[in-house]
Symmetry: D2
Subunit: 337 residues, 4 copies
C-alpha cells in the first residue's frame, strides 16, 4: 500500500514539528499539502518537507492528493476544519483543543457518532509516552488496589506574558485532565482552583502558580501544581497513590555529572518536544497506521470534549475561586472510545 | 558540671524512647525518676534506665533529684504538668501537643512569658533533622527567591482503628504545620481539608487519606497528603517550590539491591523512630545542653500554641469541609523564640 | 527521491529486528530482499516485511532492486559479503564483527580505502544512544579535563551454555572496546583479563564474570566487568573519571513503584533491544539517510578493525591470564572516519 | 557504674575528634588525659574537653584516672603504646594502622592472644556505618548467593603533596581492605596495582589514581579505584556482585535542589568526618560500653594485622607493578574475633 498523503493545517511549533516528523521519520506517510495563515511560514515548511502550499485549509481538506489531515491550526478554527474532514470522511489528528467550548465540542462528538468508525484522534501525546503507558498498565493490573489520589506537577520554565491564568488552564492543565481520565478511567466532575501568592515572574493579574483540584466520579482527588514560570525546566511528574502502594513517573533522569565543589547534577529536560518527542513520534506512527485503514488509534472526540468541559470549569474556577461542577452530555453509542 | 537529672513523665513509646536515650546515649544526662499511669510499665522502664518510680507526676516535678522534666504523658495532662514545671522553674521538653486546646495553650504562653527565659521546648523533632535544617538554611539564604508552595506527603503504613480523622490531624498533620511555619517563617492563617473517597483500609467514617491545604499570612500555600494506612512505609517528604527553583527532602534512600527478575529496590523506613532517630537524639542532646544552663534550644511555647491552633482549625475543617481561619492571640514580648 | 531498497542478509534476532524496523518504522527505506541459511526463517521474515527471498546472499547483493545491504549473517560470512558490496559499490550496515580476525579485517579496511568514499558502517549502536552521545559531548567539551579512567559494567541476565569466555569477549566486551575508543578518542594498546571464581550459573570452564582491563595509547585505563549470567537484567553502565569531575550513564531508571512491605522498586531493562531500541532506530535512520547519498554516517571499517584487534588480544588474554598487546596496522589515508 | 575515664593519645584531626565526641556526645565516658607531641595542641584540646595534659603517653597509659585508652598518635608510635596498654590490661581503641609493619603487628596479635579477653579494638569505623552493616547482613543472609566481585570507589577531593602512592595505600586503600574482609568473610591473598596516567593534580611521581585489585582466598576479586585528588568530594562507594543479584551502598544522596538553567543537583559529602560521623560515634558508643566491661566490641588485632599485611603487599605492588602475594602467620586461638 502506498504512503499516506497528509495535509498539515497550521505549521507553527506543533504543526511544523508534525510536518517534519511525517516527512523525515515516520514511515508510510508523506506530507503533500501545508497551510498556514502566515504564507511565508507555510512556504518555508512546504519546501522543507517537499509539499505544496494551499491558501485555504478547506481546499487542502478536499484535495485529491490528501488521504488524512493533521489539524494544528489555532483552536478557534478547529470546529469547522474537523467537521469538513468528517464530511469528506478523512482521518484526522487534531491537536487540542477539540474546539474552544463545550457546546461546539459536543456537536463534533455527535456528528462523528453518526459515522461507522471514529475518524478524529486527539493529540494527547502523553498516552503514547512509555511511562504513562506503564503507569496505566500498573493501575489496570489491579496490583496496587483502587487508586485514591493523583499528585501532578506541571511546570514550564517560562511563558510569554500573554500566557495568562486561562491559558495555563486550557494549554497546560488540559493535559493533566486527560491524564487523570486516562489513568483513573472515569470522568472529572468538579474543579477547584487555589490561587496562592504569585511568583514575581508572572505579569500582574496572572495566577502563577496555581493548585488545581479535580474530583472524579467515584470521589478520587487529583491535585495539580501548574507553574508557567518556574525558571527551571519543563517538569511533568505524576504520582498515583492507591490502596496498596504508589507509583511515580516523570522523574526525568539523565546523565549524572559530578563536578569540583562537590556537586552531583543532572540536566533536566527544558522543552516539551525534548520531553515528549518519542511520544509524539509514537502517536504519529500509530495514527498513520490506523489512518491507512480509515480509522484512529488513540484518544477520540469524547476525550477531546471531556477535556474542553474540564478546562471550561477550570477557567470559571480560577475566576471565582469556587468549586465548579463539570457537566457532560450523554455519551453517544458510536463515539470514539 | 554534673549530669542533668531528668524526670520522664509518661513512658509509652515516646517517653520510653526518650528515657532510654537519656540513659544510654545522651551525654551529661541521666534519668532519675519516671512516672506512668501504668505502674508496671513505669517500673519496667525505671529498672532499665536505673531510675526510681514516682506515682505522682507532680511529686516527680518537685523532687530534689530532678533538674529537668520530659513530658511524654497523654495530651490532656500537659497543661498542669507544664505549669507546675514553670512554677518550679525547671526546664521542660514537652512532647506535642503543648495542651489540647488553644485557650489553655495560650495561657501557658502567657505564663511562660512572665519568666526571664524560656523554659519549655516543644518536641518538634523534625527541626533537628539534618535535611529539614538544610532546607531551612537554603530558604533563608534567599538563593531560591521567595517560597511559593510547599508540597508535603506524610504517610504511615498502618494505624489502629482508633486513629480517626481528628487524630490524623492532631498527631500527624501537626508536624507538617510546624514544618511549614519553620520553613516559611510565617503563621498559618487558614486550613481547608479535602476528603476524597477513603481507602478500604480505613474504618468506616474515617477520612483516610486527606489532602489538607494551609494558607500562610503572605498567601503561600501548603498542601499535605496525610495517609494513615498506606500499607507501604513511613514516608515524610517535603518539596518547596520557590520563585527561582525548588528543593526536595525526605527521599529516604537506602542500600540499592538488584535481584533476579530484573528489579532494583530499596527498603523504605518503616517507623518514625527509625526515620527520625538521629533527630530525636540531636534534639535531646541540644535540650540537655541548654537545660543545664537553665533554658531551651529549640521550638518553644509559641510554636506549640500555633500548632494547637492550626490543628483545632483543621479538625473543624475535616468536620465541615469548609475553609477555617486560624486566629492567634497577640504574641507576648517574652515568649520563647 | 524514492525509498532505499535494502537487502537484509541474515534474519536472526538482529537481522530480523533491522528488517522489521526498516519495513515498519524507518522512513525512506524498504526491504526488498532477505536471505538466511534457514530458508523457512527467511520466508517468514520476507512475508512479514513484504520482500522476496534469495537463497544466495551474493545474488541479493547483486540484485537490481537492491540499493544497500544490511549484513547480519554469522561473523564468518562477513568478509566475503562486505567485499562483494564494496565491489558493487553499495552502502553497507555491517553488524559486528567486521570479520573474524585481524588479518581479514585489515584487508577490508585497505580495500575500502581505495574507494572515493566510505561505504561500510559498523553496527556499534551505542554511539547513537543519547546517553553515550551526551557523555562524548561532555568529554569533548573539555569541561571535565583529561579523562583518566573508564569504569564499565556489562551484564546479561542469562546466556546459553555455548556462550563461553571467548564469546563474552567477542560479543559483549567488543561494545565496551568501541565505547572506550569512541569516548576517549584513542586506540587501545593492551588487554588484561582477570578471572575470578566463576558463578555457579556458568558452565564448567567458562570464566563468568571477568574483569577486563584495557589500556589506551596515552595510558588511560578502562575496566570492564563482563557478566553473562547475572540473573538480574541487561545492565550497561559507564562511568568516566576525569581530572575535574566524573560522569555516569546507563542508570536505567524507570517508573518507581512502592509496595506493601516498604519496598521502593524499579523494573530494570531485561534485553538489549529494549535498552538500545531507540539507538538502533537512530542508527538505521541515519544510515538510510547517508546510504541514499552513497555513503555512511557512523563508525566505519577502521572502528570495526580496531574492535576485532582488541577482542583477539582479549581472547588470548583470557587464555593466558597475561597482559596482551594490541597491534594495529597503519591507518590508510582514505579509511572511513 | 561511673563514667569510663579515657586517655586520648594524639589529638590531631582524628584524636581531636574522638576527644570532643567522648567529652560532648558519648554517654558514660569522659576524657581525663590527653597527650600530643605538640604541647600547645594538647593543651588546647585538654581545655576544651576539661582534661589534663600528660607529656609522656606512657604516663597517661599508667595513670590512676585512666580506665581506657584511645590511640590516635602517629603510626610508628602504635606498637609500643598498644603493648603498654596490654601490659596494664586497659581496653584500647587504636586508630589504623595497628603498627607500621607485619612483623610488629603479628607480635601484637600474639601478645594479646595470651590475655583472657581481647583488649584492642581497631578504628575501622566503616563497620559501624549503617550501610556497610546492612550490606554485610544481606551477604550473610545468603539471599544473593555467593559473592563474586566487589567494586570499590574511594575518592578524596584533595590531598597534600606529601600524600604519595604509599600513603594512598596505607591510609585509604586500607579501609577497602578491611571492608572486603568484613563483607566477604575471608582473607586477601594477593594484591596487584594498575597505575594509569596520573591526574595533573598529582605531584610528580605519585600514582593518582590507581586501580588496585585484591584477590581473596576463594578467588573472589575486589577492585578499588583510589583517587586522592578528584577535586569533587569524599566519595566512598561499594558494589557487591553476587550469583543472584547485586547491591550498592555509598550513593551519598542528599537534599535535591533544582535551579534556573534546568539543573537538578545534590551537594556531596566533602569530608570523611561528615560522611562517617555517625559511624565514628556508634563505634565510640559501642567501644565505651564494651570497655566498661573490660573488652571490645568491634574489629580486633587480627583485623589490624591483616590490614597491615595487605597494605604492605600493596605498597610493593605499586612499586613493582607486579602481583604481590599476601602471607599471614597462623591465627592464634585467642586473638580477638
Amino acid at each position: 500500500m502506498s504512503a499516506l498523503r497528509v495535509a498539515v493545517l497550521g505549521v507553527g511549533v506543533m504543526g511544523g514539528y508534525h510536518a517534519e516528523a511525517l516527512a523525515d521519520r515516520i514511515a508510510h506517510a508523506r506530507v503533500t499539502v501545508v497551510t498556514d495563515a502566515d504564507r511565508a511560514r507555510a512556504e518555508r515548511v512546504a519546501k522543507a518537507v517537499d509539499a505544496r502550499v494551499e491558501s485555504d485549509p478547506f481546499a487542502a481538506i478536499a484535495a485529491d492528493d490528501v488521504d488524512a489531515v493533521v489539524i494544528a491550526s489555532p483552536g478557534f478554527a478547529h470546529e469547522a476544519q474537523v467537521l469538513a474532514c468528517l464530511d469528506r470522511g478523512v482521518p484526522v489528528l487534531c491537536e487540542k483543543p477539540l474546539t474552544t467550548d463545550v457546546t461546539t465540542a459536543y456537536r463534533v462528538v455527535l456528528r462523528e457518532a453518526e459515522l461507522p468508525a471514529p475518524l478524529v484522534q486527539l493529540g494527547f501525546m502523553r498516552r503514547f509516552d512509555t511511562e504513562y503507558a506503564a503507569l496505566r498498565e500498573l493501575v489496570a493490573s489491579g496490583e496496587l488496589g483502587a487508586p485514591l489520589l493523583l499528585h501532578c506537577v506541571h511546570r514550564n520554565p517560562a511563558q510569554s506574558d500573554a500566557f495568562d491564568s486561562e491559558m495555563m488552564m486550557r494549554d497546560s492543565v488540559v493535559h493533566e485532565a486527560d491524564v487523570a481520565r486516562f489513568l483513573l478511567g472515569e470522568e472529572i466532575v468538579a474543579v477547584t482552583v487555589n490561587r496562592p501568592r504569585p511568583t514575581r515572574e508572572a505579569p500582574p493579574g496572572v495566577n502563577d502558580p496555581m493548585l488545581v483540584l479535580m474530583e472524579t466520579e467515584s470521589g478520587r482527588l487529583v491535585d495539580v501544581e501548574i507553574s508557567g514560570r518556574s525558571r527551571v525546566a519543563y517538569e511533568v511528574r505524576t504520582e498515583l497513590v492507591a490502596e496498596r502502594g504508589s507509583a511515580m513517573i516523570g522523574l526525568d533522569r539523565n546523565m549524572v555529572v559530578q563536578r569540583p565543589g562537590g556537586v552531583r547534577s543532572e540536566r533536566l529536560t527544558t522543552g516539551f518536544i525534548e520531553r515528549f518527542g518519542a511520544a509524539y513520534d509514537a502517536e504519529l506512527h500509530r495514527w498513520v497506521r490506523a489512518a491507512r485503514r480509515g480509522t484512529i488509534d488513540g484518544p477520540g472526540t469524547w476525550d477531546g470534549y471531556a477535556a474542553v468541559a474540564v478546562c471550561e470549569a477550570g477557567v470559571e474556577a480560577v475566576r471565582t475561586g469556587e468549586r465548579v461542577p463539570v457537566r457532560l452530555g450523554a455519551r453517544p453509542a458510536r463515539a470514539a472510545a
